[in-house]
Symmetry: C2
Subunit: 305 residues, 2 copies
């Protein structure tokens, strides 16, 4: 039975790698986390983990969800590579060949945030009816993934919705933004490091009644209303470190309603916004469980064709 197949999932982030083996969120057999150091070392650690697991369990495929930018074009000679990342040592890193050589099973490659979006879509049965589904991670950076027609959306490159330009009232917020490319884009104004730089202390230390949270909710609401106008999603999932501050959710929802100003006449927004902008179903495991989901659908699809 397909549902008994065991898959690997790798979430390769800028600070840590998470590797997992299992069939579903309810059936995780192994899980390890280790820091992201240099490619040779970190990738070898992942290879060792999956090889060890494969000695005990037949793995059908591995999903690799990597920080980007990535080459996702299957016809490109550098498919499966990280391209030009600012992260020292990681530009032009082949993320999949060593795994493939060591294990000889299909490797499915995806952008980490798209994999998180897919994890949320695939493992939460409710979300199968919620396309387009948009997932944002708001933390060290701001990333986004979109699920449509049961798969992550790929265009020219991956989704980079963290870099959209939103109104920035410099009187109310003189902070100039920290994006090295666009200064005060959404990420430049609202990512965790921007909060830290603006207020002189890390977001997690800011008290509940600090004005930081209202400003943060304003920027996130502006970006989410833009996403609603541009894509008409049926659900928005907000994850990442900054969103650990749970009070943000109700502030964002109220501000989104105000920004839309009844223009979008949908009861899903007007009456059920608590169920429209939501935290991740999978907590902080959306990425690695998304990688496993991508491996699973790849194998199931092959079987059905």
């Amino acid at each position: 039975m397909t549902s008994d197949n065991i898959y690997g999932g790798l979430e390769g982030g800028g600070t840590k790698f998470v590797c997992m083996v299992g069939s579903s969120p309810q059936n995780i057999l192994e899980e390890v986390r280790f820091p992201t150091t240099i490619p040779r070392e970190t990738i070898q650690q992942a290879v060792n983990f999956f090889k060890r697991c494969a000695d005990n369990t037949r793995l059908s495929a591995i999903g690799v969800a990597s920080f980007g930018p990535l080459d996702l074009d299957k016809n490109s000679p550098t498919y499966g590579h990280i391209t030009t990342t600012p992260k020292p040592g990681w530009s032009h890193t082949d993320m999949i060949s060593k795994l493939h050589q060591a294990l000889g099973i299909p490797i499915i490659f995806e952008h980490d945030v798209s994999a998180s979006a897919f994890g949320e879509y695939y493992w939460n049965p409710q979300n199968r009816q919620k396309e387009p589904l948009v997932y944002f991670t708001i933390g060290t950076g701001i990333g986004a993934g979109i699920i449509l027609n049961s798969r992550p959306v790929h265009g020219l490159l991956h989704i980079e919705a963290g870099h959209m330009h939103i109104p920035h009232d410099r009187k109310a917020d003189p902070y100039s933004g920290n994006c090295p490319f666009h200064s005060d884009c959404f990420e430049g104004l609202a990512c965790g490091p921007a909060m830290k730089q603006r207020w002189g202390q890390p977001a997690e230390n800011l008290p509940e009644d600090h004005p930081a949270w209202n400003l943060e909710a304003t920027y996130i609401a502006l970006a989410m209303s833009n996403v609603i106008f541009t894509l008409s999603p049926k659900r928005i999932v907000l994850g990442g470190g900054v969103m650990q501050h749970e009070a943000l959710f109700s502030m964002i929802r109220q501000k989104v309603l105000k920004l839309l100003n009844n223009y979008i006449q949908s009861s899903d927004i007007l009456e059920r916004i608590d169920d429209f902008i939501v935290p991740p179903f999978l907590g902080n495991r959306s990425g690695v469980l998304g990688a496993i989901a991508l491996a699973r659908v790849e194998i199931e699809e092959k079987k059905n064709n």
Copy 2:
């Protein structure tokens, strides 16, 4: 042969209706235009046109592309209706039942801008490789449609990307915007009537060297860079009355490159932006030819299943 089938297309706009019968842009058999007055009268004119055509030619289906907001949910009792439009007399208008009753053939219903996007996608062979494809009409209002997986994207409702919030430098442009819902959203700042109100004369009267065009290009470029970040389209088509001012295209392209600031490392943008942001292949007939294309794919799909 399917390609010889004849279809009807109706583009129902706020100021005029365009009705067409044919099989493709190269084979248009009949075309009429008449002003949008009251629903009973205007819809009857369309019914009369298609009935007359059906006396001479077998019509396989009719695509109806209507101004919105629309009910596009096939399971809804008001499917095929315009919902709550500010246009006097047109709220809650059934756009398809009379046509269906009179002709007894399938009627395919779509939002006018999504139909335009589909027309550009379907009839321009190049665009079949250009998904996601985004189409904007910038004129009396600003509307958008997205094609992905060979079809217009439908979410909760239709795409309303004209209403996204973009930076508005009130020092450089004190005009407060004319959107009744959001004041200075993209449409509120950049639609034709906003240009007229800001500068005291209609856009088409403004000379080539008037600062209006630089400001207009700035707003359009901000919105397009947001669309590029959010959706990573492979092509953006800009149509509508304001875009008749051809000099806007090169100004917008330059400003988009500046806004992206090399963050999107794709040669399609960095080296070939003239081929990335383009005018409509179908001129001002994208909507009605899109309606015909929608009718055609509906019938061809039924045949193949």
